[in-house]
Symmetry: D4
Subunit: 206 residues, 8 copies
């Protein structure tokens, strides 16, 4: 499993201390998630120089990525507004050595756009479906794809969609069978779940 | 607008008194909704003889229906479990003199079933979409149909879907533009909204 | 249906990229909604020069409006605090080629103010009722007007009215029959629902 | 203040024991509220004979009522379904020696019915407004009447109105100034609040 | 009833326009509530010169106060943190011509402090109880005082007390009989309710 | 710590099997909690004969009680309706070998009743405060007593008090310092917390 | 994927009709879930004779099971009260041709019981963790096992655990990385998610 | 009990006035909690010079600490993000004269880290468990330690963990017996509860 530091819930002082120590003591790959602009700006330039940073997804990789592993994941996002969360998932997969592709703007209100990409999606071993608002994309994908589907509800939206609970509940109550779900905006967790599943590609445990 | 008595929130004694009085003083059509089995059993046989009763939708018409009016409504329901609420909508439309058709079991997990019925649905002036759980049917229909769409979330389901709030929020946050929504399980209200809209078929007000 | 870009849930970088591309590739009318001051300020002056922008409603039209169509909508708002949401509805209607009128400050605590405007309201084909707090305006209008009524609850208010859930629930539970509802603050969605309904003015579909 | 026993949250055994003891030790008037049919049936016939019981409001008076006092209260209920709660308020007022009148079925969807009773309502010293669903009656009354208004939200309804929270929030967020509110279904509490207020009829405290 | 403008839910531009117009067209007393520092700073100096402004309660009176009227109200607040809301109530009463006194820091965790002030409190015609967190002050006062009690829950607090719902529910579920409640932080509404009640001091309506 | 079986969340078949097995294999004291009437009736007479059962608290002791230990706990309940939960706490303490006393009907609306019992309460090592509705008793006790206080919110009540969340939040947000809280209706857990604390009577751990 | 009929949200009449039709037209395996005792009793004896029914899990298999497939799943349940939901998962797996084992009563309050079974758990390809109340089992398993983990929160419990939301939120917010979650009590959905994942045992899709 | 001023819910002006007065009139130790950076900056330098301030926990001691008392408390925190709340508890204990130790980063996803510190934890008289997200640490500690355990849920987290309700509910529904809980983020309250309990070290009250 990828080793990561969730920066968003820590103070800038705490993040600086942790990253400084990591940079000093290890050459193993480490992932920073939810790294705020303020936290990034507070890091020493010598540390920043060793980071592979991406501002849209607020992720940074220290000491490169983990070794490549078998399998391929597609991250499907309903709209542009979900791109940051989709990015967190995709970057975590890349960090974990997993080949992945991101497909955005395939919300079900324009079903033909989703259908146009369906062949690509079906070629993946695992589908991560990122969707806010009504999260209808999750159920439609669930009916069209036989692979494991991991839903990531997003907090994008307003009114009843504020905070992402509507998308979460819609995903959990999906009429499609066998979809599993992670916490709202948890692109990192979805990627970790995918990594767990990809270990099955090696065959049965016993 | 149809004149109706919502029986479900009243005591059996209150319903018996109201219906007895209606039967005595008017020959105009009246609709009873949410008429429970217990309430029905408490009515006088002479009153029951004058009712057109339907147990699945818990509706009963007294003194027939209102005159036929222009327009056609299709009531689309995601699953068998939504049939009672769909029935309340359809029966209210029939009572109101509106031609209607009901299409059941077209949930989006089996998208092909919905697509097979799409031509029929597109022939309607108004679509009432009845759906519980994730209510993904509402958004998919919203993207496929240009007519007015009235969503009726249902309380069918368990876990996060209990009580219908998940379906309600999903419908309100639909990624399809211009869907409007009524209260959970309110098939009657959806039909009334349709009746309001059908008056537009006569041309502009001014 | 109007083609629109919901800017409020996107980053400034995303909005600039989308609007730049739209300005480059199309001369068709496009609507920007929830365009923040910061996003507007980040757009190129040559793009801004082509926008019809309104700051109260945070909407901007690119390449003018859609062709005029039949029908007339009145947007009724309970108070001054609801003017921004009412403005989003009215601007979307104007963009869609629909004639509309806005009537503000007719809350039911001063019933005589509403009654003074009732004749104007009754002349409309469709009524959009914008109300926060108790949303009592929705129910009173529902009893006084036979036309379709689309309620837009607003997030205006404090205490139990914070976020608009009180107004939403009040609208959905309206004692007036046949009112339909859109998401909190969704003036755009209400206008889209009206556009769907206005297509009925041309007569039955089949 | 009236002395009362809230029976509904107690076991039948507890209620029987309490009422037996009251009947044995006091000849002062006592009020039983939320007395269930099962609890009533478990009381000794000799005790029941001393009760003035009303099944709709589930109240029973032991040893008559308190002495008459000055002032007059009107209890206004939106619909038949609210009659039980309105009855609890009216019975508590009667028990407390307060003159009261009950006006039912004046929901704002039929505003003319309310206006027809407005003169009667304005003659009262205090108005208790009992309403479920959207509780729009509370705000309309608040704008039309200058007397103190005590709102009692009711749990009548379904969907978002289930349990009465929608009516509670609507009452608390009323656009009419100076309405105060008691707990959902708390007709007894509204009557007690009225009794507190009626003591002002005797003139300033100091 | 006092005429007031709720500024907090309006834009600065809207408030400036409304207050400018009021200053131009009327010499009657008007109250501004929830007037933010930014809104105050945007008003013209000539208008500000005519205001009696208080920053703790965010209230400003234009054109003085209404005429004195009979009766006396005491505003009791549990802690210093509730002083702003208590101030809104007290300032509204003063504006309305009502004599009032404010007693702060009498939370029930130090019951002796409340008991030391009990005689003063009992001399009032009406008690407004302002309390956040557990709002236990409301119930204790309700048991110790026979006068009308209006509870104002406050949004002061953190964790489960965030937003004031805990205090609101505690006040509505008070074990003391006949307490009535207004919206969270609604000091203005509590004062208006008191003004309604004080009209009873003149004797019965009919 | 006491070993107990929570029966209320198990099927009757499961409870019968578990208790049969316990009766067969151990002579150590075991406590059954939330044992429903139906479950009790399904137990074999020979097993029932070995139980010390109490129907109000739905507890049953198998094989007597644990050895007596030092310390004394008082269980204080606001009203008769809280007696079942208070009983669960008291019975668990008795089972655990702890001396305890129960004081009921000392709600803060009648503060003098509580004050009359204050000396008894202050003699306890630990106070368990059982209260529903507003749970104001918890805060008042917290201010009057220096000993550890464990609050048990109860689900007694209606409207906003339904289910006990109001009492829970009020207890957690208590203005009295150092009160700790257990789950709604969890008299058993409060007693277990008291047992943990009583071990301190033996002096510091290290 | 297994083909199933969710009976619990349908009327008895609907279930009888659906099962009768299935029995008549197909010899393919079908699974009935949430089949209530009343629904089972209403089925024709000839149909019941063809069912493999299990009352604890409320599941029935018509026409046997699907063919065996590779892989092994372990279903871990925190307590006896979770056995019905665990049973629904296990029975669905068996129906789907998947080898599975169920381990019950390994809640983390007795960590040693879980550790005693850890070797068995680690031999599985996939772990389904069934837990109500605090669902702490999910996080502990997540830290101890590298295989995919599917959490099924259960509605077992009382107070804040009522309905299962506490367990759901705890599972979604698990501090262990890469756990995915299905709806409350959805043992069937967890098994379907496992079936999707087991298809990976055959190697990468492309 | 420690005397403290909760600064976070007060205005800067109020805090300055209170602390100025305390500094002038008493030489007794006083604790300031939730003292914001802005409030600290507004205090007079002569007052600040007398404070023992800690920015991570936002606490400041005026006039030193209370006298040492018997007993030892360990504060256990799941992660770095919980350190501020753990600090508030530890600083309050130090202020109260209680010996305490803080152990951080022992979340249950890495069970071995917790087990490595178990001996230290078991040497304490009381354990304060600080945990956000799933709060699984509370239940695991509850099963491993016999001493009193006070859980402090934290608001650390996102999605369903936002605000700390998930951690609160998980703590209250803990499968470990006899854990008691304080409000979200209430490190101060947990320390006060510990102080109450430590008084038991002196032996039974009577």
């Amino acid at each position: 499993m990828p080793e990561a530091v969730l920066c968003g819930t820590k103070t800038t002082e705490q993040v600086v201390a942790i990253v400084d120590e990591l940079a000093a003591i290890t050459t193993e790959p480490r992932l920073l998630t939810r790294l705020t602009d303020e936290q990034l700006a507070a890091l020493a330039p010598t540390v920043v120089a060793r980071l592979d940073d991406d501002r849209l997804s607020q992720t940074a990789m220290l000491n490169g990525t983990l070794p490549q592993r078998a399998g391929r994941v597609v991250v499907v996002a309903a709209g542009t507004s979900d791109a940051a969360v989709a990015g967190e998932a995709a970057r975590t997969l890349t960090f974990s050595g997993v080949q992945c592709q991101t497909i955005v703007d395939v919300g079900v209100a324009g079903l033909w756009r989703l259908e146009a990409r369906l062949d690509e999606i079906r070629e993946a071993d695992i589908v991560i479906a990122v969707a806010g608002m009504d999260a209808a994309l999750v159920s439609v994908l669930g009916g069209l794809v036989a692979a494991p589907i991991i839903a990531v509800p997003t907090s994008v939206g307003y009114g009843v969609a504020t905070g992402g609970t509507a998308a979460l509940h819609s995903s959990l109550a999906s009429c499609a069978q066998g979809v599993s779900v992670v916490n709202i905006d948890n692109g990192f967790g979805a990627a970790c779940a995918a990594v767990r599943m990809l270990s099955l590609l090696g065959g049965p445990a016993s």
